[in-house]
Symmetry: C2
Subunit: 385 residues, 2 copies
């Protein structure tokens, strides 16, 4: 078990009708920016409920944060925040809106720094405006962590950055906010959460039995509730379990004392930046490909996962690991998630070469053993065809 630090001060308010608690967590003396996305919150009850809760507060609205939120749009909002002397940012949306709000909050507090230098970690920054969250899509875990992932349209780049200043002050999680979501967004959320767990779990054993089991708890729960959560919006309990899984998958607990991978995310971010695929759509084929490519290195954890999550029995280690990967791929496919890049309209060979080129230029290697070289990243992309 490795040494670690854990810190997460985000307050979670979870359940039916939770949005009505919003006023108690907002500063009355500040102008609040209400930040949201493409307007889906106006098609369900969320916009109305948030507006009702904001009655009596000074509020400026900005809608139009897209999925894979971009530096260019954030820059506009940063100007707005400075102009309007915003003191609090309320993100109403999923991971994209929350990630954007974190960059805006940091950049507005540090106007001497260019926002892209914050994203690329070229410039240090000091503090951030406070952010609160009304979550409408369970997937990224951004509502309860200090991470933000931002794209730059002009250069087709996508990077993650983090800071303790970025933890939301609160996150309101009402599973009913997901009732009107299209099925593919729920599917993406389920897979995103599953692979967030996978990146922190599927490495090599390091005597960390509680955190292993906490990870398996999320795997098992996601598998258990996936069908109901996907197909029956009215199944509150399934949606609630899925939402809490997604938050718990990336709020820092599974990192405690653990060996982590994250190569799949690094490669996936490039595929999104290059071709606009949804985050989870990149993760599923790459993770399955990577698990096969690195099966020997990950053998013991794959076997443990196969036995405890998929109830596999008998067979030798090799067979168990292969079956565990096959079960995972089948699970993704059953909930409608492709696991081959050929299912998308992209040139896989071109993608592999460009990713190898980028990682070589940046002189980066990935994975829990730091042995996923640019060449191997490209191989993993090719194998995901």
């Amino acid at each position: 078990m490795d040494n670690f630090t854990f810190y997460n001060p985000t307050r979670v308010i979870f359940g039916k009708g939770a949005i009505s608690n919003l006023p108690g967590y907002l500063p009355s003396e500040q102008t609040i920016l209400m930040l949201y996305g493409g307007g889906s919150i106006k098609k369900n009850f969320v916009y109305t409920a948030v507006q009702a809760a904001l009655s009596g507060f000074r509020v400026v609205e900005f809608g139009g944060i897209s999925s894979n939120p971009d530096y260019e749009t954030c820059s506009q909002v940063i100007e707005l925040v400075l102009r309007e002397k915003i003191g609090f940012i309320l993100a109403v949306g999923g991971g994209s809106v929350i990630d954007a709000s974190k960059l805006i909050a940091a950049a507005a507090q540090n106007p001497q720094v260019d926002a892209w230098d914050i994203v690329t970690k070229k410039a240090p920054f000091n503090g951030a405006l406070p952010v609160g969250v009304v979550l409408t899509l369970a997937a990224t875990g951004s509502e309860m962590n200090n991470i933000s992932v931002i794209s730059r349209l002009s250069t087709q780049e996508k990077f993650a950055f983090s800071s303790d200043a970025l933890f939301p002050r609160f996150a309101i999680l009402d599973p009913h906010t997901t009732d009107s979501l299209p099925v593919n967004q729920i599917r993406n959320g389920l897979v995103d959460a599953f692979i967030h767990v996978g990146e922190q779990y599927m490495t090599f054993p390091n005597h960390n039995p509680l955190v292993d089991r906490q990870a398996e708890a999320i795997f098992n729960t996601l598998i258990e509730v996936a069908s109901d959560a996907l197909l029956i919006p009215a199944n509150y309990n399934a949606r609630a379990a899925y939402m809490w899984c997604a938050t718990q998958a990336l709020n820092g607990h599974l990192r405690c004392g653990a060996v982590q991978d994250w190569a799949t995310h690094r490669i996936g971010h490039e595929l999104t930046a290059l071709y606009g695929l949804a985050h989870a759509e990149t993760l599923a084929p790459i993770w399955i490909s990577l698990l096969r490519y690195k099966m020997q290195d990950k053998l013991e954890k794959l076997v443990q996962y196969g036995q405890r999550v998929w109830n596999l029995q008998g067979g030798n280690q090799q067979e168990l690991a292969e079956q565990a990967i096959a079960k995972t791929e089948l699970f993704f496919n059953r909930i409608g998630m492709p696991t081959h890049l050929k299912d998308y309209n992209i040139n896989v060979e071109e993608a592999a070469r460009e990713i190898e080129h980028r990682f070589t230029e940046r002189a980066v290697v990935w994975g829990e053993r730091q042995d996923v070289t640019p060449k191997r990243s490209a191989e993993i992309v090719r194998n995901a065809v």
Copy 2:
């Protein structure tokens, strides 16, 4: 899944040598009270390591907090804190020292309120001095929660109180601090953590699959590491897993959306207040007795626990539940924990009557269905003989 709020801002610094990080978390401008217990920290490396880390800080020491920390001793320390204008309390010890530090921190910040009125919740209080923790015994979870349990010697009473002002600012957890502990204290810690999970889990199902599995993760890990943690201090990984289990057992996560019991703790606190038994020594016989007494009400969760934690198969629900309780009792006994009150030098009938009398006077009922009446509490005590 019930609505809930979750908040826990305590920063955890976990691992070998973690005490050396202490200076980075202490305020240089304040006088620090170093609070500890009976002096066991002077028999191992902890006192020396903390003293080295405190070099350069203004420090006042108070040793002598006993197990089941009492209002009387805390009152002396509160006077000391006010006299010395202490600005930060560093608790170096287990749950007793931490619980005492929380009461001292709250009372010193609210000198107009009597400390016992804080414990009994008769008087509101506003804020508390900041508390930091160097943990030396994994058991109560107090290092990462907002709860304190305090006894009053003069009246033989023991009560819990809580407030968000009481979360430690940080908790330093080095499993090696437990190397020199006597076996019975490790045994108590294992059982304490196990039953903390049990009180939040063994009720009735309410569609909370992730939190159920997170609870089972701790049960399973405690069972897996108990023997090694108990008997082999040099087994760092077992001690580390046990320590992290104890913290995670009562840091608020298992309450999320869950139905809770806590009757065993209410009864157990009385037995400690009356007879001085260690906390875990009261919990083990009372919990086993309560599980048998309430088996029908807890049947579904007992069966799930039996299947997932003890790998029980076959049999009807009744048999599975009985076996699950028997397995639990055997586990406690195997690690040296008695499960019958007759093993202690107390008059069980007298205890049952006194507890019935006290709960009747206080007009309290306990349990997840609020049906553990004073009379039934007495029955549970009698059956624990």
